[in-house]
């Protein structure tokens, strides 16, 4: 038996909007600690990891671990029927092949039940090790999203270089090149506008902008985005979900012509 009651229904909607472009089908794993998802995109280039901790739910009951395979587009269709301030309850019985979404309007005068069929999805689960990143950049999510959007009109890859001074996003395309440098900036009125760089050593990596743009769809979830870079590892773009958890995107770097040779 599974029952998750989420007061901020809109949050679930936003989460779904953030990931459904990358991933079409995914398994939602429910355990005692929380509601999570891990899925790779079809070409195994990017990975989404979502965690909503149990504490974030008003009511969280999960008798035994449960994995629910859902088509995210279908799920989005259902959630679209929920109002922005509706309370969403997710219910599923053990062993059943459906999941129920219940939407309650804030003043309890309307209750909607949506039952969705589950799918059998076999997906490989990657064990993602906790690792030290060479550079971690925290910046306003809107700023990051803006940068990606701007750069993508010039080129299709972004080179993210982190130095002591700041983080440089640069691209090159047929029409020219573009560089955007964000300096470290801790002295702002609001903490969420700060740009903070923690760096062990300078890093410079190349990524596909298309994916980055997909990641920025999660911007509504959080004011701040954390980008963790390490030369040997995929980049991690993390959006914290207030008090509940996070959504993390992992992206492998572009293949460099002479990458092997250098190493």
């Amino acid at each position: 038996m599974l029952e998750l009651r989420l007061v901020q229904g809109s949050l679930l909607k936003k989460v779904l909007e953030a990931i459904r472009e990358l991933v079409t089908d995914a398994n939602f794993d429910c355990s005692g600690t929380g509601f999570s998802l891990q899925a790779m995109d079809s070409s195994h280039v990017a990975l989404v990891a979502l965690l909503l901790r149990s504490e974030g739910f008003e009511h969280y009951r999960c008798d035994r671990n449960l994995s629910m395979g859902m088509n995210l587009n279908n799920m989005a269709k259902m959630l679209r029927c929920a109002g922005n301030d509706d309370i969403i309850t997710i219910k599923a019985d053990d062993g059943s092949d459906t999941v129920t979404f219940m939407f309650e309007s804030p003043n309890q005068d309307k209750i909607a039940d949506f039952e969705m069929k589950l799918m059998d999805i076999d997906s490989e689960h990657l064990g993602i090790p906790d690792s030290e990143y060479q550079a971690i950049v925290r910046m306003p999510s809107s700023e990051f999203s803006r940068i990606c959007k701007d750069l993508s009109s010039i080129g299709d890859t972004v080179i993210i270089s982190v130095t002591k001074e700041g983080v440089k996003f640069s691209t090159a395309g047929d029409i020219g090149t573009a560089n955007i440098v964000c300096r470290q900036n801790k002295t702002v009125d609001k903490p969420e506008d700060a740009t903070i760089i923690e760096m062990q050593e300078p890093v410079s990596l190349t990524f596909a902008l298309r994916y980055m743009n997909s990641f920025t769809k999660a911007s509504p979830l959080s004011e701040q985005v954390t980008i963790s870079l390490s030369s040997e590892l995929p980049v991690v773009v993390e959006y914290k979900i207030a008090e509940m958890g996070y959504i993390r995107f992992y992206l492998a770097p572009k293949i460099e012509e002479d990458e092997e040779m250098k190493s």
């Binding site: 472009e21 079809s42 994916y211 293949i255």
Partner: protein
Amino acid sequence: MSSDIRKWFMKAQDKNGGAAKPAGTTALAKKPVLSIPEKPSAAPSMAACDQDCSARRKTSKYFASKTEKEEDTSAGKGTGRGLPKRKLQKVSDELEDDMKPLPAKEVHKEEEDDDDDDFVAPSKRKTPVKPPPSKKLKGASTAEAHGKTGLDDDNEDKMDEDAKTPSKASGSGRGRGRGRGRGGRGAGAAHGKTIGLDDDGEEDKMDEDAKTPSKAAGRGRGGASGGRGRGGGGRGFMNFGERKDPPHKGEKEVPEGAPDCLTGLTFVISGTLDSLEREEATDLIKRYGGRVTGSISKKTNYLLADEDVGGVKSNKAKELGVPFLTEDGLFDMIRKSKPAKATVAKHQSDKNSEKQQKSPMKSSPVKVERRDGNQITTGKNISPKSNKGSASIDNQKVNIVDRGSLQWTEKYRPKVPNDIVGNQSMVKQLHDWLRSWEDQFLHSGQKGKGKKQADSGAKKAVLLSGPPGIGKTTTAKVVSQMLGLQAIEVNASDSRGKADSKIEKGVGGSTSNSIKELISNATLNYSNNRLKRPKAVLVMDEVDGMSAGDRGGVADLIASIKMSKIPIICICNDRYSQKLKSLVNYCLLLNFRKPTKQQMGKRLMEIAKKEGLQAQENAMEELAERVHGDIRMALNHLQYMSLSQSVVKYDDIRQRLNSSTKDEDISPFTAVDKLFGFNGGRLRMDERIDLSMSDPDLVPLIIQENYINYRPITVGKDDSGVKRMNFLARAAESIADADIVNVQIRRYRQWQLSQAACLSSSIVPAALMHGNREILEAGERNFNRFGGWLGKYSTTNKNIRLLEDAHSHILASQQANLDRESLRLDYLTLLLRQLTDPLKTMPKDEAVQKVVEFMDTYSLSQEDFDTIVELSKFKGHPNPMDGIQPAVKSALTKAYKQGSSSRVVRAADLVNIPGMKKPLKKRVAAILEPVGESLPEENGVASSEGDEEDSSDAENNDELVPGDTKPKLDLQSDKKKGIQVQLDLKSNGNGLNSKKMPAGRSKASGSAGKAAGGSGGKRKR
């Protein structure tokens, strides 16, 4: 669990050890399977039918199986058909074979048949058939008596025989009605009788019995076949390649033997056998586990031949000391192998049921009794041959199958490259290609250009092609896996069109961009070895299915290949598909072939073994052959069969796959070959329609091209050739009819007529003419030619086009006003003479000049010259260019070229001088010239024209014409040039910078001018 139980059941039955299996269930089970809900008594009869069927199958397996479909047709129809056929025997005796009743599913008809048979069949026969209905009953009843007495421990096979016979007795009428009343059946009737008498008899004796009466009883049919035999003899050696029908076709009872009694023996069949068709004999041998090969070798155990025709095979056999074996010898061999145990019970049961079936009016108690017996016996001894199927079905009913939900195709998907059946060299190539890919394309920069150039032939992508189901996708995956590459498969169900160019849209969106990104992006992996990043391989499956919903499709794929940083494996079925034409240039082509049946058979055996399925090797090979190398299909069939039986035998495969043969692409040539082949007359109508419809455009064309080359076998002896001529006439008439129909179809879109078109364009000619192809002209290859019509049609069009060009030039020259037809018919010969005769007769320079002048007069270009020559060529006539020295030819070309700088053919449109819109002007000129003959204009223009000519002449002086004659001539020609000249003036106004222009123009007029007085005079109309 349950499957185990089932197996247990099966084994128990096989051993006869199992307690009587609930017979009721057998019966019940059988009923649904065979779908005979009609009569309550049907159930027990089922078993009999079953056996009956299998038994009959043995006599005429080959054809019987063929006609499976026909079973659906009612027996009545069958009989109806049989009659006329009989009459037409000469022409369509082969069809008779087709009519042969099919064992397996006929049962439901049986009863009706029987009713009919009793009345209809006898009357139908030309010669009286021994067993009249009453006898049949008698035979059956004796059998029944058997059943009651329960003579039990006879040879099982004998049982079968017995079982067979009564059934035949009953079915004989039907069979005969269908035009296939074979001795076996006639014999059956008598046989039943004999059995009644000596049921304990030795099996051989049985057979004897079976045989002898068959001859007597089957006289009717015997007569027919005898007639046929004679016909065949008459044809004699003329029809080399066509095998005569066996003289005693179907007259012998085909023996039963122990399964696998021929295992390990290899046979070669030669010549015509006594009673079996070649195919039947092959079948028989294979059924018992023997091998049949095409030619004699040391491994051959026997040469099966009834007559020593002294062919290659027999000679070689003698050489190698391979023993000869006659058909009877083979039969004996099989018979001897028969185990001594007889299963009378089954026999009984068969008879019982037969009886019941035959006489539904019989009292019910008897029936009940019988049924009991039946049940017991079936339970006890299920002969592997006949009852197995039903028994296992039975089991299935009892237990729910739990063989695992996994498809075998998945379960036994190769895990390592060595598991892949066949195409190992392709696998190896793919492996090598993949392994070296990275060095070749990713690091080429480091390793220096030298290497890259050395491997310039290397392709960045690979294209695997081959028929479905032979493991292309599997190969791609397995090889990738082995190399530690991550294969990402994209097939037709994924969106893989052109990527949305807007990067802002992200990877999702209306069109999927992930493919595009993938090819330049590393893939994610958190493996233990971080330095070694996993490489991806893109497997583009079903690329020939692209384009439907995939925007950009193949073009986009090519773009991807060009920029890809990962290997791309494309997979398609047809590499020659139009869609892939551009793709193949970028791909290393690996063509997968069907695995041989031996390879496949081996693999299938392994799998069958693992699944606890008993399978004969030759059964598996047959399966492999039947599915045309499609392993996937073979496995699916096997799995499906495994649900209902635990032993798969040769016959099962044949039976099963007869109805569901895989559609194979057939080329129009193959279709025509089949239609016109010796056996073309044996094809069923629907087969013929299928063949001729395989390509409704090309097949008729090929037929029309080739039908004359065939010597129809149906005419028999035909010394004068008159008969053949008549056939040809009829075929030609039919083809002509088809043409009329075809016009209706094409012009008025009357597609409902396509059947008629196909009939008269293909089937009728083929039916008339099929036979031996021969060449009519020495040096011709004795293969069907491609239809000549298409080529001729396109030549016609081309010639018309060329003629039209020449025509328009001549019109523009103002020298003639004629239509195209008269140009061709009246002028062309004269023009040709003018063009070629001088070259042959006159001295070179003079001739060349004359011809060039002539050409200029008529505004003929060199292409027109060629056209005229070309159109005047006829087969059997000398080439008009013969007798012209090459030197003269080249001089002509040179002279013409020389003049071309100062010449514009007035027909417009063909000459394009850079920088000017000349063609347009010319066209205007050509159109308006006749009108523009007014003198004032002419005068006004004259002076300027003169200037112009001067300037141009200044250029051209050296070439051809003395300058002084020109102005005069120009004046003459100006008439025609009014407008043209004005235009020239304009262009001259630009300055004489464009020298070509004026020159050209002057030529239009001045070509004649240069030609000097004579031509000038000519020019005036």
